[in-house]
Symmetry: C2
Subunit: 465 residues, 2 copies
Amino acid sequence: MTENLTIKNNDSRHELRSLVNSQLRLLLEQNNLQGAKSLLVPVQPVDIAEAIGDLPEAMQLMAFRLLNKTEAIDVYENLDSDIQQSLIAEFKRQEVLDIVDKMSPDDRVRLFDELPAELVSRILAQLSPEERRATNLLLGYGENTAGRIMTPEYISLPAHLTLGETLERLRTQATVSELIYYVYVTDESKRLKGVISLRDVVINEPHQTLEEVMQSDVVYATTEIDQEKVAKLIQRYDFLAIPVVDRESRLVGIVTVDDVIDILEQEATEDIYALGAVQSDGDNYFDTNLFVVARRRVSWLLVLLLTNTFTGSIIGAQEDILSEVTVLAAFIPLLIDSGGNVGTQSSTVVIRGLSTDELKDLGVGKVVLREAIAGTILGLGLGLITIVWAYLLPQSDKNITVAITVGLSLMAISVLASVAGSFLPFVFKFFKLDPALMSGPFITTAVDVLGVLIYFNIARSMLGF
Amino acid sequence: MTENLTIKNNDSRHELRSLVNSQLRLLLEQNNLQGAKSLLVPVQPVDIAEAIGDLPEAMQLMAFRLLNKTEAIDVYENLDSDIQQSLIAEFKRQEVLDIVDKMSPDDRVRLFDELPAELVSRILAQLSPEERRATNLLLGYGENTAGRIMTPEYISLPAHLTLGETLERLRTQATVSELIYYVYVTDESKRLKGVISLRDVVINEPHQTLEEVMQSDVVYATTEIDQEKVAKLIQRYDFLAIPVVDRESRLVGIVTVDDVIDILEQEATEDIYALGAVQSDGDNYFDTNLFVVARRRVSWLLVLLLTNTFTGSIIGAQEDILSEVTVLAAFIPLLIDSGGNVGTQSSTVVIRGLSTDELKDLGVGKVVLREAIAGTILGLGLGLITIVWAYLLPQSDKNITVAITVGLSLMAISVLASVAGSFLPFVFKFFKLDPALMSGPFITTAVDVLGVLIYFNIARSMLGF
């Protein structure tokens, strides 16, 4: 068994995980606890957490109790929050002390955020005073701030220590902290004076002092800034962790790169959902109640009803021309689809550009102008193709006037949609509204209403109505 | 000046950057090279790179030459690729040796990927034999593979060394490698045997051997796997770096977490662009030629023409009913917009779920069923609202039959769009096509064509045509 478990890459790794998951279940069903225990020995904590998550609920606690104390903490931190919840509700007092008390404070706070308030206070009461203090400190900061997501487990030392002494200190202190990529240098009132990477501690001469080798130009975050900004700082400077200071510039915690990856993924998901017209609140969509799902999706659709009150009344007012040239109705979907599409293209690149650094110093004017030109090129090309296409379609009865009307409208709509699609995200950003969420409905409204208006006006003048 | 430069957080950091940028330009214009040089001393390399990028092109080389050798390498690695290119074209032979030869091989390869072939071979010829070999090795792997993005700068040591000896070795070897989060343990034929974090080297007893403390259960990537999979492995296991092995299981490089963050951002951008119907190739959209932009956006729009050939001919065939009940045309935009919107909502969550781990083990059946139910709830709600809304609109002349037709159609379209939107991404994934890119056009086609067909069929039977 153990032989096989050393095959660890990519797809074979995936197969291996499935194998562990099914084996674990089999062994537990046979009540072979010793076998299950040895199966899990060489497996990574995150993979064990997945295997436990795949078990029927009745077996999860049993499987979890097979783990030794150190491993149990790592595995628990990696469980899905619903499984964390169901386990914690059944934990004995000793398990709370062995596991929840030993979790990183940031992971513990993330867990508490999901739990019912009375369970949180019961668990808090069972924690050691030190861990309770650490947890309450983090819980005191607003959601999604640096203070809430940081961990107070870091190494800080005074500037006068030599690197040799530093290594000695690390040997005794490091068990407290999982994360020693950096040693932070602080003064007696805990103010941040400098930083030195563990690498630099190791490679420099042992008799040098921290002061001599530290970097005093420290990039840091303050407790109240948004987690997304913290993530961007770590991303920009390629750090493994960033120190967090309070209002008095005292070091109070660090945010680590592994959390930042998760934050960036979560922010990208929120952007994608917003662009796809789905509201999100950071929960897993696929774990969410279907009525909640419907509610989160309905608001955008109601906006469409409003939009279509205008579009519909414009079309409704064309009874004279429509009853004679009914084929005009056949091209409405094309104009609506194309306008929506061109507008979405422009807004997508602008919205993504605003949330990454790609847009940089290009001003609103330049971006909108670029999009307007791109829209014109697109519109000219598409318009000409459409004239030929519409002329050849059976339903247009080779009516060249209708074909030209459709082509000209498409050109105008393409320019209009590009301008609206690139300009509106800036407007929403200026008013501190989320461009990803707001742009869609407004672009659709602008493009539908104006597009249909343009179309029927061109048709009227071309067809002499 | 230096006093002020220690304010380093968030927004004040941003102001500081602008200040450095404008000061640098001023000093260079006054030809005050000494002043410019001291201005940049306390600034982080990535910020210096940005400041140089903001200068007029004529000043960039001048500013770059103010930097000392070590700093110049860091700054150069952080420059935008167009500025890297224009600088490298002007580098003297000595500068190539001082900078390009000293870059990390992975950064160098990323640079070479952007340069014209003849410049690459000229520069390659000027590199030291060792660096040339390292570069050629990476260039030999396919684009976007682990082999192409890895760096061959890592620390590998034999298992019998004690931790004390390891620290000694690091002190002499570490200058070679910027990145020593982990020490990899290899045998005489370079096969990967284990891994130990620098933390564990430091905190354990110096007389212990690597073999005693190393983790032999190593998660690794192979050279030919896709960079996105490498990123997912680092993300899953919260690593700072992952070892890369060749077909003979020999350690050949590592991929580090800072590169992974950039890969994940790039992949998210590609997904967002694809969902927004814009093709991307990893370039910065806003630096791309407008005709290329138009070409990348046109393919989706041409698909719409094809779609609308069907939709248009369905509507074209309704001359009899449309010429009498022209108001039916007024509701086409609502049905098209709502169907598109519901379909996009479903496909967005499924596509994102497929590319993150959220969907997990939910099968196709369960997901589509969930979406179908959500679509039904949505459809019922929206349909009922729409009946009232359509009845009250002036253009419907209080025609309750038309209002009910629109409402019923919307219900049917909502279910249809949810099913198509959730099912099609799985189909494309099964056929190894990118769901983000392919789903949009097909969902629009299905929803438009079937939606219009449903609408006019309901209208015909309700209105007795």
